[in-house]
């Protein structure tokens, strides 16, 4: 399979190539929706079945860090959109700049996530033999309403780690894609005529952002109580 300039040999025109890439990325994102959808469904069903334990679980999550992360990701989507705009208008230096900014913001997100995870380990909120919620955090009413409280709370944290872990994995892949794009962009590969990879990674990045927009309210915000 050979390439003449930007055109791959099995395509007839650059337009056909770009359309194919775009349709392919959108279909891939649809599969990602179904992929996350499965685990979101598991979460929804379990939240409905165990409201007390899950409410407590939500309240142990750090709202401030989660909110900061939400802002960070939204900003990264903005910088990514700017990179795509720069690609369309052929502003090569700006493409690189905005891609780097996006990568940095993504890195900040992952860093804050690491801090959150570390906190969970510290406070014995990781499912398994060391799981322990201190008695003063569990109201008498809650313990009475749900005799299997600890098991259901562990279920919340299993889903928490599963969902945010899967999301973080996708962010890491996105970061890898950004690094690749930055290297290509620094070599001047992307012009107003050919900037498809920037656009495609942009689509992917926005999708990963949207997943977080759903994760944050579902995990952090529902049944939030003022301390």
């Amino acid at each position: 399979m050979h390439r003449t300039g930007e055109l791959y040999g099995h395509f007839e025109t650059l337009d056909q190539q770009r359309e194919s890439a775009s349709l392919g990325m959108w279909i891939f994102l649809i599969t990602e929706v179904m992929f996350f959808g499965g685990i979101f469904l598991a979460y929804t069903v379990n939240r409905h079945a165990n409201p007390v334990a899950f409410a407590l679980g939500s309240n142990t999550l750090d709202l401030r860090l989660g909110a900061i992360n939400t802002g960070v990701l939204l900003a990264s989507s903005f910088t990514m959109a700017m990179a795509v705009w720069a690609g369309h208008t052929g502003k090569q230096k700006l493409i690189t700049l905005f891609l780097i900014l996006t990568l940095v913001l993504g890195g900040i997100f992952l860093g804050i996530k690491t801090v959150e995870y570390a906190g969970k380990f510290e406070h014995h909120l990781v499912p398994g033999s060391s799981f322990h919620i201190p008695a003063e955090d569990v109201s008498a009413a809650a313990a009475k309403a749900d005799p299997d409280f600890s098991a259901h709370a562990q279920l919340f944290f299993s889903l928490y780690f599963g969902m945010t872990g899967l999301h973080a994995l996708h962010m890491v892949v996105g970061a890898g894609l950004l690094i690749w794009l930055i290297r290509q962009s620094m070599q001047g590969r992307y012009t107003a005529k050919y900037n498809t990879p920037v656009e495609m990674v942009g689509l992917y990045w926005h999708f990963v952002d949207i997943v977080w927009i759903y994760l944050f309210p579902l995990l952090y915000l529902i049944d939030r109580r003022h301390k």
Binding site: M1, H10, G37, P127, L159
Partner: protein, 557 residues
């Protein structure tokens, strides 16, 4: 065939996709969709034979009521590995990965699929998944059933569940990427003049299949990942001891696995829709309805999953809804069967091997489909759920339907892929042997299932022995029906007569290029000016003018 006899003996083309490049790297690093198709052909055949060995062991064991061959634990591993190998590593890839890959670009006049490198990646993902499954099998196998129900699979089983689940998980991405590739290809890579309603029905069938692949497979990936994590990290999604719900697993699992059976049958239906017009010399009856029916099967197929769970404790209202939808999903399949029959009506029918397989498909798919209705009926299902009636039903569809379609495709397109013809007498004989062996194997299973013999049991009451003996006898005949084609097809590669460009002849675009095709498929990008299956307006096929007027070409029924 009078059309070809008068032509002089043809030569194989000098340069084609098979001799374009030599060496192992040119195969393992190829991006040519035709070579990738052959890579898949070899690998799926391996898993088919492996699954067949497991089946043989099951049937041997079941010759006697007490089951003298295998212990209960090993028996459980046999039927599990049979199911996993056959479903995930043979049936689901089979027609799409071999014939879809090979022929979709040819049928639409393209040089390759939209994403050739992703196509190769699909094969490698399949191989990695297969290797993991093999590793599981060789570490003693797994005993959970191919359905991996929790908490047996995620907590209690002492078998090699994790590698198998990981293997199936990775294989799922092979499926997803293939579906993605097909969808984009059909949208963006059609040659000039190849409009949507001039596409061969095979392409429509794979389009519908691809929709299922991309929407359903990710869900089973998540589900298996959750079950795997539950097993490895002792989490509690599906384990009642830890507050989880085993029925949630079933819902998530069947949400994919029911549409998966349509992934297995739709491509076979597409093959039949190619074979029957060719060997009736008549256009496919009701082209637009056939295309619509394929899409309807794909969509409605997503709405019926809980008919696998009628006895799992769901509410009567849910069961009612799913039963009703199950009746609905049978309708487009029935419409297709009627349309195939109508295609043959007043056609000029010849019984070459692909047509023999198509006839086999029609009869066996009919039986399988009708018995599916019995299973979908709530009251009857209580009696026959988890019995051999179910086993017979799905084997009639998956073997009598899908595998017949696969064998038909293999024999229909062998001349195009290899440039050679096989021995027609031997092939027809093998097809009949297969048909007889199949019915002897599986029809008694309907009877014993209805009489109460449960599935997945390693021993049974003595009154069922006669059915089991008949079934095992049939299985040996069935095996011959599968071994023979491997032998004569391989033989034909060296010694078979040269087939020529369009031996049948057929109206499809793939028959306009050489056999075997050149790497770039067409010397010049074709411009399509004819309707699909239009035998009347194709003088290039060299057919005698039909005495009875043929039906109108598609789009004008």
């Amino acid at each position: 065939m009078s059309a070809t006899e008068s032509r002089p003996a043809e030569q194989l083309p000098e340069k084609h996709y098979l001799n374009a490049d030599y060496g192992i790297r040119s195969w393992l690093l190829t991006t040519d969709h035709k070579r990738i198709a052959l890579l898949y052909l070899v690998s799926v055949t391996f898993f088919f034979l492996l699954g067949g060995v497991f089946a043989g062991l099951i049937r041997l064991h079941l010759l006697t009521p007490k089951g003298a061959l295998l212990s209960p634990e090993v028996y459980n591993r046999m039927f599990t590995m049979h199911g996993v190998a056959m479903i995930f590593f043979f049936l689901i890839p089979s027609i799409p990965a071999v014939f879809g890959n090979f022929f979709i670009p040819l049928m639409i006049g393209a040089k390759d699929l939209a994403f050739p490198k992703i196509n190769l990646l699909s094969w490698y993902l399949y191989m990695i998944g297969g290797a993991l499954a093999l590793y599981s099998f060789m570490s003693g196998g797994l005993d959970t059933g191919w359905t991996f129900y929790t908490p047996l699979s995620s907590v209690y089983s002492n078998s090699a569940v994790a590698p198998a689940v990981l293997g199936v998980f990775i294989n799922g991405f092979s499926s997803i990427l293939t579906g993605l590739n097909f969808l984009v290809t059909v949208h963006t890579m059609r040659a000039p003049g190849m409009t949507w309603f001039r596409l061969p029905m095979f392409v429509w069938a794979h389009y519908a299949t691809s929709i299922i692949m991309i929407l359903g497979t990710p869900v089973v990936a998540t589900t298996l990942a959750l079950a795997g994590m539950e097993r490895l990290f002792h989490l509690g999604f599906f384990n009642p001891q830890l507050g989880g719900d085993p029925v949630l697993f079933q819902h998530l699992f069947w949400f994919y696995s029911h549409p998966a059976v349509y992934i297995m049958i739709l491509p076979a239906m597409g093959v039949i829709s190619e074979i029957i017009p060719t060997f009736s010399r008549k256009p496919l009856f009701g082209y637009k309805v056939m295309a619509g029916a394929s899409l309807a099967i794909a969509i409605v197929g997503f709405l019926v999953w809980a008919h696998h769970m009628f006895v799992a404790g769901q509410s009567a209202y849910a069961a009612l809804a799913f039963s009703f939808l199950t009746m609905l999903v049978a309708v487009p399949s029935a419409v297709k069967t009627f349309n195939w029959t109508a295609t043959m009506y007043r056609g000029s029918i010849s019984f070459q091997t692909p047509m023999v397989y198509a006839f086999g498909f029609l009869g066996l798919f009919l039986v399988g489909g009708l018995t599916g209705l019995f299973l979908g009926t709530l009251g009857t299902d209580i009696h026959i759920h988890d019995t051999y009636f179910v086993v017979a039903h799905f084997h009639y569809i998956m073997v009598g339907g899908a595998v017949m379609g696969y064998m038909g495709a293999l024999h229909y397109w062998w001349p195009k892929m290899s440039g050679r013809m096989y021995s027609e007498t031997l092939a027809r004989f093998a097809a009949v042997v297969l048909f007889v062996g199949f019915n002897l194997t599986f029809f008694p299973q309907f009877l014993m299932g209805y009489a109460g013999m449960p599935r997945r049991y390693h021993s049974y009451p003595p009154e069922f022995q006669i059915y089991n003996v008949l079934s095992t006898a049939g299985a040996t005949i069935l095996a011959i029906g599968y071994i023979l084609p491997i032998l004569y097809l391989l033989w034909s590669l060296k010694f078979g007569p040269v087939a020529g460009r369009n031996p049948w002849p057929s109206t499809g675009l793939e028959w306009q290029t050489a056999s075997p095709p050149p790497t770039e498929n067409f010397e010049v990008t074709p411009v399509v000016t004819w309707e699909a299956y239009d035998f009347e307006n194709r003088p290039d096929l060299g057919l005698d003018k039909p005495v009875i007027p043929a039906g109108p070409a598609s789009g004008h029924d």
